[in-house]
Amino acid sequence: MSLESRLPKGPLAQKWTKHKNDINLVNPANKRNIDVIVVGTGLAGGSAAATLAELGYNVKTFCYQDSPRRAHSIAAQGGINAAKNYQGDGDSTYRLFYDTIKGGDYRSREENVYRLAEVSANIIDQCVAQGVPFAREYGGLLDNRSFGGVLVSRTFYAKGQTGQQLLLGAYSAMNRQINRGKIKPYNRHEMLDLVIVDGKARGIIARDLVTGELERHSAHAVVIATGGYGNVFFLSTNAMGSNVTASWKIHKKGAYFANPCYTQIHPTCIPVSGDHQSKLTLMSESLRNDGRIWVPKKLEDAKAIREGKLKPTDLAEEDRDYYLERRYPSFGNLVPRDVASRAAKERCDAGFGVNKTGEAVYLDFSSAIMRYGKEQAVMNHIENPSVDTIRELGEKVVENKYGNLFQMYEKIVDQNPYKTPMMIYPAVHYTMGGVWVDYNLMTTIPGCYAAGEANFSDHGANRLGASALMQGLADGYFVLPYTIGDYLSKDIRTGKISTDLPEFDEAEKNVRTTLEKLINNKGSKSVDHFHKRLGKIMWDKVGMARNEKGLKEAISEIKALRAEFWNEVKVPGTMDEMNPELEKAMRVADFLELGELFAKDALHRNESCGGHFREEYQTEEGEALRDDENFMYVAAWEYKGEPSDAVLHKESLEYENIEVKTRSYK
Amino acid sequence: MGLLSSSIARKVAMALSGLFLVFFLAQHFVINFTSVIAPDTFNSWSHFMGTNGLVQFVLQPILIFGVVFHFVMGFVLEIKNRNARAVKYASYKGSANASWASRNMIISGLVILAFLGLHFYDFWIPEIVHKYIESHPEDPTRYYAETVHKFESHTRVIIYVIAFILLAVHLWHGFASAFQSVGFNNKYSRGLKGFTKAFAIVIPAGFIFIALYHHINHLIH
């Protein structure tokens, strides 16, 4: 199978419009006879399901949570980008496009990214119409803030809960269709296999998580919108249940998996506190608008702080190293995530870490608090305000902007971030890699689509802040529902797909066999035991910095761990009941395969780009060193039985509208 | 019950009947209080209330309906609310998040209801018998003496005091709550809440004062 990306020809700015005009449509009467399955109900899946149902298709949605409203999109904090230029600071579709390509370190498709930038403005209009309560200014118009890697303010937000508000918007659009009977929701259901009939995706096998029953669902097309696979690291900012299973199952049935090694390590997360830790909590990137990142300048100060002998607030200005401002004067604290993360790791590796484990840096709000406080004093005509008054006024402003994040930090760490700087450290956050899709978001399996974080399409090797929400909603509201018509237009005479076909029998049998094997294995170690070990291998050897030796070790260790898992795993309970351990086992089994492909991809990519940093390929100053001559392509892997046998297909990236440069934020 | 089929409608009905009873209570208090400061006024106002056609045949039935409605509805809601949690908690820490008064309106309500029984037996039934069954000629000066006479009994005064303490508890939550129920919660609510809480203390305390005043008066003489 060759990679046909179906990129439209013509001038960049007209490609999407032209493509929409060229593709086939399904007439409204025929849409009523077509079924679409959407797996995953986050921003991408939820918005796609709602729009498909509005257009007239019969939609079935599947999510493992008890309600679509709990999908992990809800945890996105900072905001959503859109090229609205409401601030009049020179933003435009082109600039958003350019920033995204550059931010992605020139490893994404021009066409996809331009389309994303183009529809971004529609997303904001749509969400406001739906009643999403974005932050506003006193004049009643929408407010914006700035995110990493850009020089304009184009991020729309709802305090630190933007993802929640957007997801609830998509969920409300879904609810309207559920109410009309156009969407049938299957909550607490997990897709465990894709059914292919005559080479086309025709349905899924899903497990009802409450009863344990296996169900067959047929459709004319299947959309996978199940998010990313960051949980392969065990510890990440993903939800506990976030998994790669749906993506991996379709990969095993023929969908290529692209760029698995592109993982985003988010620079501002709450550091690990102990071995019991089950997940990591993100502190929004928006905090870098006002927070300054630093470590002590002197090693002995760092040591004293770690031992609790010195407080960060006691350290004089000149003894602090604001290393991002020092290294990247033009972007300062707002460099892209990959750059900020590596810089933090570099300082901590050099011995300047500030918590007990030595893996934390400070994110300090005191200058912002004082700056805002002074502003407020002037605005409120307070003459000769005392330092305390200024501080108090400033804290109020900061609370207004980030109150929920500060509260969250205080609950977890038990320190007051208004008074003492926050401690942060990078953590696995987002996966740019994912299922390979063409311009229509169709995978290499006809009729099987992937949207949102689950696909690989728009962010290249690194995603800019506030762009994940944008991509999820762009795919779901404005791209997939139209491009899918091109494929479905050929299906208007197909009629209902029977679930009695032998292909369904076969798929269900395979799923049942796997479940039975896990239940009957009766090994000696829990699922989490294996997941934690996998996570450790991934973090140590396939994490923020990778090298050939470590990657090779990782590959063999993961392989061995996988074998051990299938021999030794212990899953209590039965198949025919609510059994979270069994759910986890199924997911970890897939992570154990993905992890190896991930390392294999990282090993083959002999360059550093975006979230993929190979220690062998860096400049003297420690910046990432790309190899555009040999690696300016999408690595799409075809499944051949074992991850190690996966076959590489290359989709080369052409840049016609942008000059490929070394990324610099200096 | 078509009109009262929704939870909010029932809640509003409880609030409105409650507010009506609060208004009645205030009025009742004012008249009773005259028995302390001006027995003659007490007599003449009581005479008016007892003989005026509008009061007797329009307002009195409305009042009785209000009382009956309030407690019947209270029971209905209590039963429905208990059913809404079929399996009870093994550990339920209601005091952590809500006042005793708000959680036990049914208890304070039942005590008040029992007291109303006594009150009817003491005053209302004798009045009806006196006026409409035995058809005594109206004596506009009889009210003060009859009232004072009731407060001679220790037991009655003790019951009276307990009932009014529970009434205070009932009002403490109920009066302010009625405004929330009808949708009144804004910048004026704080002040209003202060007023309702003061009312919840002052009026029942006033009733208790009247009872004790007459009782002590009786003991002294």
């Binding site: 809800i74 209009d125 009643g140 | 909010i8 609310n81 804004n186």
Partner: protein, 248 residues
């Protein structure tokens, strides 16, 4: 820390459940409550017993999955947190902790501590939306200026995570705070006013159908709400409902 846990165990929706006692040692103050339960479950699996089933997902206080009644309070003794963000430093060595599922007729138990909150979804489906198609052909987002105060209040109401703590805390198992938060979010925005009448009537009707209790304004919901959703929303819904009823 050494703790005694009394946990509700129930095989499935039909089974009769009971409280079981477990001892747990080595609990660290930096653990979240759910991480403490993870440790317990690891121990149970090691011993060949069935782990305790509970809902959880994001573990950062926003998805609304976690739902435990801890020592008689939803999400435990701390304020403005969900169970996943409740840390063990709020407890003392030697404590006995009672852990139960959220209890309400409208939240039937699925297994152990996991309950079915789909009644909340059905309330939302009855009207918790603005009927606008996702065509993208709406008016410009800045075409309607919205008073910042209203927008902020709408946002505050919209931060409800649908966890059900309000129902669990309420002595009447009433869902008024949840329903009113959604009604308020839309009632405060001009976009939402268009369908306000029908929305509040439909959502309240569905809420009643689900078997939730009536609100008696005890205020327990507001105190226990991990997101601090205000009682003002209930007053607003009452107002909206009354106006809507009068309009017919």
């Amino acid at each position: 820390m050494k703790l005694t846990l009394k946990i509700w165990r129930q095989k499935n929706a039909q089974a009769k459940g009971s409280m079981q006692t477990y001892a747990i040692d080595g609990v660290d103050g930096d653990m979240s409550f759910l991480e403490m339960l993870d440790v317990l479950n690891e121990q149970l699996i090691d011993k060949g017993e069935e782990p305790v089933v509970f809902d959880h997902d994001c573990r950062e206080g926003i998805c609304g999955s976690c739902s435990l009644q801890i020592n008689g309070e939803p999400h435990g003794p701390d304020r403005l947190v969900t169970t996943c963000q409740l840390h063990m430093r709020k407890f003392n060595d030697g404590d006995t902790i009672v852990i139960e599922p959220f209890r309400a007729k409208a939240f039937p138990v699925i297994k152990d501590l996991m309950v079915d909150r789909s009644s909340f979804d059905r309330i939302q489906q009855a009207g918790g939306f603005i009927s606008v198609n996702t065509s993208g052909n709406t008016i410009d987002a800045n075409a309607i200026p919205i008073n910042k105060h209203d927008a902020d209040e709408s946002f505050e109401a919209a931060t409800c995570i649908g966890c059900g703590a309000c129902v669990a805390a309420c002595k009447n198992a009433s869902a008024m705070l949840f329903t009113s938060a959604k009604v308020s979010q839309f009632a405060l925005l001009p976009q939402g006013r268009v369908e306000a009448t029908q929305r509040v009537l439909n959502m309240v009707e569905q809420m009643d159908k689900e078997g939730f209790g009536n609100c008696t304004n005890t205020g327990a919901c507001e105190v226990e709400c991990p997101k601090g959703i205000s009682l003002e929303n209930i007053a607003r819904m009452n107002r909206e409902y009354l106006t809507a009823s009068l309009k017919g």
